[in-house]
Symmetry: C2
Subunit: 160 residues, 2 copies
C-alpha cells in the first residue's frame, strides 16, 4: 500500500494548497475510499464527509441522482457517477468529489456489465472526469483496485 | 480478521431474519465500519447506507446532531453518538444504526479525552446502547479496534 499512501499524501497537499475540501460518494467500495483517506493523520483538514450510498434510494436521497438516470442507464453507469459527484458537492460543504459505482461480485454481473465493471467520476459541480474500469479478481480484489483507482484519479483530476 | 468476519456473518443473519436494514454513522473510523460490513457478499440485502461525518458541520447537516450538544459535550461524547444514531435512522430508510466518534490521534487528545478515547452508540430512534472505550496504540490500531468494537456491539445490541 506504499503507492496508495504516496497518492494520498500528494492528494492532501494539492487539496490543502488550493483550500479545497473533499467529499466521497461510494457505492461498491462501501466506504473503503473514505477509510483509506482518513487513515492519514490530519485528514480532517481536507476531508469533509463521505456518503456510502449502497442502495439506489440512498443515491437519490443524499446525492440527488435522478431516478430516471438510474432507470435509464443503471446504477453502474457514467451518468450515475456524474450525478453522484454533482450531488455530493452540492449537498455538502465540499468542493471536490469522487464517486464510485460498480459490480464487486460475486453476483450482480451481466454480459454487458460483468463483475469487475466499475465506473468512476471525479470533479466538481461544473465539470467531471469519468472512467470505466474492468477489474479482475474476486470481490475483495475488485474493491481494493477500485479504492486505489479512485484516489489516483483524484490526483490526476486535481493536477489536470 | 477471522473473529471480525464471524461477527459480520452473525450480524447479517440477525438483520436478515428480523428484516432490519443497517446504517452507519462514523467519525473517527472514517468509513472503516461500512467498508468492513460491505466486504461481505450480499451485504446490499441489509446494509442501507453510511455517513462519514468527519466534520461537525456534517454531523449537524446529515445526522441532525444539535450544535448545542456538540458545544456542550463535544463531538466525542455519549450525547453526540446517541444523537448520531437517532439522526442516522431518522434520515434514512434504515432501522438500526451504529455511531462512532473518537480521537484516533496522533493529535486531538486532551487530559480528559486522551488519544484512543472512542464513544459508541448502537440502536434505533427509540433506544440506544452506549459505551466508551479507551484503546491503546497508534492511529491505525485505534481505528481497527474501533471498527471491531462497533461491529461486535451491533451483535450485542441485536441479541439483547
Amino acid at each position: 500500500m506504499a503507492a496508495r499512501s504516496d497518492s494520498i499524501q500528494a492528494l492532501a497537499e494539492m487539496l490543502l494548497s488550493r483550500e479545497l475540501r473533499l467529499v466521497t460518494a461510494e457505492s461498491c467500495t462501501g466506504g473503503g475510499v473514505a477509510a483509506a483517506l482518513t487513515d492519514m493523520p490530519g485528514s480532517s483538514s481536507w476531508f469533509e464527509c463521505g456518503f456510502v450510498t449502497y442502495s439506489n434510494e440512498a443515491k437519490i436521497r443524499y446525492l440527488d441522482v435522478p431516478l430516471a438516470t438510474i432507470e435509464q442507464f443503471g446504477a453502474v453507469s457514467e451518468e450515475t457517477v456524474r450525478a453522484m459527484v454533482r450531488g455530493a458537492v452540492n449537498n455538502s460543504l465540499g468542493d471536490v468529489a469522487v464517486a464510485i459505482s460498480g459490480i464487486a461480485g460475486p453476483s450482480g454481473g451481466s454480459l454487458e456489465k460483468p463483475v469487475g465493471t466499475v465506473w468512476f467520476a471525479w470533479g466538481s459541480d461544473e465539470a467531471q472526469m469519468t472512467q470505466c474500469c474492468q477489474f479482475q479478481g474476486d470481490r475483495e480484489a475488485v474493491r481494493e483496485q477500485a479504492v486505489t483507482e479512485a484516489i489516483q484519479g483524484l490526483c490526476r483530476w486535481l493536477a489536470s
